[in-house]
Structures are given as structure tokens and as C-alpha cells.
């Protein structure tokens, strides 16, 4: 009989303190997330110092909860996987140092994980990955197309040159005076509006899989501003729908183009913006015509930041033999191709 593999994941890169335990890389035994969103709401965004303070308050509580939920002790663990980066450095440091303390005190192997690799591997908690595959990663800090030829190997074929899609959502939400975080509010408003404003789509140069959203963001702000000066009002629903249409059209068309070029078997949606209903629907529709390609979209709780995804990616990294020693540091600008 083959022994089960148990991996603990620790994730503190932004404003969630999260610990999870995964069995054999794919089964969730525990997945605990303490969100700080209520603490940051009144500031209109995540305040790094406050996020770090909350992580220190929460970290041992959440580790304990995860072990209880999984009905395991530390000695059952094969490895501890922790988000090394990217993210807020002060926030990352809490997870990294807690993981190192556990690894040292209980002689458990330590595995460093890239946050985006985690988002991609959230999909492996839904279904087994088949290669080659393409992942569209869309979150508050990232908009990337990542090609994977095999487990644990990442190649960024396109990324944003300025704002991440999630950032553009937050800025447009602020223009519309919607509460933080703005993404879900725009998504909701967009359901009731129509794409009437003909906002720009940034396709960039021929053949590029990169993205750019700063022009779109400025176009939204200018449109609102100009309308105000003329004494007109634009229905917020239509503005939201027009903005969202523009974002989604670029994301989906580039994804499909890359899918064709790289002849992938699977397309994985990953990152917090994967919770966006408009994006999900458009992708599902686009891929419903492509019978030979499987589209995977994780459930909402695995799209937003969590530690199950870090443990899932950590399981593969662990099998690849990747280890960190006790000098592991938080790396806010970590490169996803580093551990290929």
C-alpha cells in the first residue's frame, strides 16, 4: 500500500490568512481562510501594515484550526508549502516565518510556492491536469497567460504591461463610487447594463499575448468626466457593462488564440477575477464550440486567495524535489519560471 501524502499550505500574501491541508495533491482535508476584508474596507483598499498586523494575530489560530479540521498532527505532514511571493512583503513574511518555525521545530521539509502557481493549481483540486495546458490568470495583481508543458513547469507567454485586470476593476469601481472591493459590484451592475459606450480594446502588436488595461481605465474616467461637463449622466449599469465587455473580449480572444497556437488540451481559469460571472459565461460559451479542449473553472472559494491551492502546487513542487532552507525569505517580485 502506498502511503498517503499530506501537505500543509500557508498563504499570507495579501489580506487573507490561510492554512490548508491537502491529501495526495488533490483532496482537501482542511481549508481555513480568515479574511480581513472588513478591516480594510474603510480604507478603500488593503493597507499593508494593517494586513501584516492581522496576520500575526491570526497565524497560529488558523494553523491550529486546519490541523483540527483535518484531524491530523504536525507529525503527519510530509511537507509545509508556503507562499514565497509575489505579494505584500510584510504580509508574506508572516507566513514564511511561521512555516520556517514549524519546519525547524518539527523537522518537516519546507517547500516554497509561487502564489500564481498556487492559483493555477487550484484547478487540480477540481480535476486532474492534462498537458500541455494554458492558464488564464486574472487577479487583483496579475493578468497573465501561462503555458504549462508538464507538472510544475510554467512559461509566461503573455502578461499585463501596466495595470492588472483586477486593478482596473478597482479603479473603475472608485470612479463609479462603488464600495471596495469593486470587482464584484461592477460584475453585478454589468448584468443589468448594455455595452453602449464602445470603449477601446488594447490588442497591442500582432501576435502579442500581452495585455494593457491602463488605456481602458483612462477612457472610462474620461467618459464619465466628459459626460459630467456636458451635464449628462451615463447609466452606471451601461458603463459597467461596457467596461467589462472590453476587458473580457480581450482576455477571451487572446486566450483562444493562444489555445490554437499552442495546441493545448486544457484551459484553466485562475485568480480572484475568475469569480467574475461575465468572464465565466463568455469563456464557457467560447469553449463550448471547441470539443477537443477542456475548460476548467474552479469554484469561487478556490479562485480567491486560499491555502489549498498553495498546498496543491506545493505537492507537485515537493515531488519535483524543490525545497527551501531556513534562510527562505519573502520575495514580493518572485518569478514563476524560477523553479522550472
Amino acid at each position: 500500500m502506498i502511503k498517503d501524502q499530506w501537505i500543509m499550505g500557508i498563504e499570507t500574501s495579501c489580506d487573507e490568512t490561510a492554512v490548508a491541508i491537502i491529501k495526495n495533491g488533490r483532496e482537501i482535508a482542511a481549508n481555513v481562510v480568515a479574511s480581513q476584508i472588513e478591516s480594510h474596507k474603510r480604507f478603500g483598499g488593503v493597507v499593508p501594515e494593517i494586513a501584516s498586523r492581522h496576520h500575526v494575530e491570526q497565524i497560529t489560530v488558523i494553523i491550529e484550526e486546519a490541523l483540527k479540521e483535518a484531524n491530523l498532527t504536525l507529525s503527519d505532514l510530509d511537507a509545509i508549502a508556503v507562499t514565497e511571493g509575489p505579494g505584500l512583503v510584510g504580509a508574506l513574511l508572516i507566513g514564511v516565518n511561521a512555516a520556517k518555525a514549524l519546519a525547524f521545530a518539527h523537522s518537516i521539509p519546507l517547500v516554497p510556492v509561487h502564489h500564481i502557481a498556487g492559483h493555477i493549481y487550484a484547478n487540480r483540486l477540481v480535476t486532474e491536469l492534462t498537458f500541455p495546458l494554458l492558464s488564464l490568470v486574472v487577479s487583483g495583481g496579475h493578468t497573465e497567460l501561462v503555458y504549462m508543458k508538464e507538472q510544475g513547469h510554467f512559461e509566461v507567454i503573455g502578461e499585463t504591461r501596466d495595470d492588472a485586470a483586477g486593478e482596473a476593476y478597482d479603479k473603475v469601481a472608485r470612479t463609479l463610487k462603488l464600495p471596495y472591493p469593486g470587482g464584484p459590484h461592477i460584475d453585478r451592475l454589468a448584468q443589468d447594463g448594455r455595452d453602449t459606450l464602445d470603449l477601446p480594446r488594447a490588442w497591442l502588436e500582432e501576435g502579442s499575448y500581452d495585455f494593457s488595461f491602463s488605456g481602458l481605465k483612462s477612457a472610462v474616467i474620461n467618459t464619465v468626466h466628459n459626460a459630467e461637463q456636458r451635464g449628462e449622466t451615463i447609466a452606471p449599469e451601461d458603463l459597467a457593462a461596457s467596461f467589462q465587455e472590453s476587458v473580457i473580449e480581450v482576455l477571451v480572444k487572446k486566450t483562444i488564440k493562444a489555445t490554437d497556437e499552442y495546441k493545448v488540451k486544457q484551459v484553466l481559469l485562475a485568480g480572484g477575477v475568475a469569480a467574475n460571472k461575465g468572464l465565466r459565461r463568455t469563456l464557457e460559451k467560447a469553449f463550448s464550440e471547441k470539443n477537443d479542449i477542456e475548460l476548467v473553472i474552479p469554484p469561487l472559494n478556490l479562485c480567491t486567495d486560499n491555502a489549498a491551492m498553495i498546498a496543491a502546487a506545493g505537492s507537485i513542487m515537493f515531488e519535483k524535489g524543490i525545497r527551501a532552507d531556513l534562510s527562505l525569505n519573502a520575495n514580493p517580485g518572485l518569478d514563476i519560471e524560477l523553479y522550472n
Partner: protein
Amino acid sequence: MTILAIDTSNYPLGVALIEDNQVLGEYITNLKKNHSIRIMPAIQTLMKDCERVPAQLTKIVVAKGPGSYTGVRIGVTIAKTMAWSLKIPLVGISSLEVIAAGAGRYFDGYISPLVDARRGQVYTGLYQYQSGVLTIAKEDRLVLSADWTAALKEEIKKPILFVGNDLPLHRDVIEAALGSQAKFAAITEYNPRPAELAFLGKDKQGEDIHSFVPNYIRLAEAEAKWLEANGKTIKG
């Protein structure tokens, strides 16, 4: 009884291991380097050299601030996680008290340990040895060094020993206010000694580990601004 002490609250990085009434080992540096990279390897090396394993530890004592927010969080996170997972008590000690403990043991008067906090401010407090026990006369605080020394001049009649790596930055202000009442510790006393930290926590009761947090003294800047903008009074 084997106690591990950890201090990463300011530039000095300190680890000590004490057992019964003996200092087994100490590691101190005073460098502008990243504590997150160096502290765990320092703990590992010291414990290995002293031939002790984590399971033998009976208590962890950590310097809980004030100091660098990020620095103190690194030490506190490690101390909390180790203590909780090894099921041993955790004790937090003021980072300033540790500085006072070493420098002032045989000094007849008060001790003001200080750490620069920029713009003329210092983190400081007032301590005094009474019958061999370090006691606190004025709580740790963030204050302009000029205001602090003026207040001391007013209230304190005994000599006051100033100590800390940032002393040179504030020496002129201190001397101007207190003259010969101010005494200055030797450079070799500036660093907080992790063995002092271990002994300060040795007989103290463990605290609730989950809720243990650093003593930042100050609110996060965004929090303070928000409270001000919303007409609330700022405490702490």
C-alpha cells in the same frame, strides 16, 4: 529547563539558549541586514552547537517591541509558532527592558534605554534596579527626545543612565537638558543581550499564545489618520 530567547526587534539580531542557571550560548549581530533571512539559521546553528533539539525547549522568550514593525513581527511570529507547536509557554518582554537590563545592573539610579524613531523621536522608557530586580518607573513610549529629557529633568532627581545604539543621535539633546545628571553607557553595552532577555522571561508566566502580538506603541499610520479624519480620539 531550557529556554530559547529571540530578539529581532531592531537592528541587533539576538538568539540565546539558557539552561537552569547557565547561559549555554548567545548570538548577536548589529547589522542592517534582513532578519527574515538570518534569524532561523541563527537559531538552528546555536541550538546545534549547544547540542539541543527543539523538543527539549521548555519556554520561548521574545522581545515584543517597540522597534521596527517588520522586525518585531518576524521574531514574534517565529516565537508564537514554535511555542504553540511545541506546546510550551511563550513570554514577551519589552525590547527596551532588555537593553536596560544589561547596561544598568550595577547603576545606582534610573536607566533610559532608547531607540531612535526618526524626526527627533525615540522609543524609550524608564527603568530601575531595586534589590537586584529590574522595575519599570515610566512605561515604554514614543516621544521627542527633547520632551523626554525635559520631563526627566523636572521629575527625576537621581542620575540617569542612557543606553542604546542610537545614543549618538540624541546625546547632544540629552546633555543639554540634563547636564551631569545624564550618564552614558559604554558602547559595548548598547546591544540588547539575548541572554538578559531569556532571564527576564525565565520566571514569568506564559501568555496566551494565539492572541499574543507585538507592542507597536503606535497605531498603523492609516488607522491613526482614519480615526483623526473621523473625529475619533486616538488611544495608544
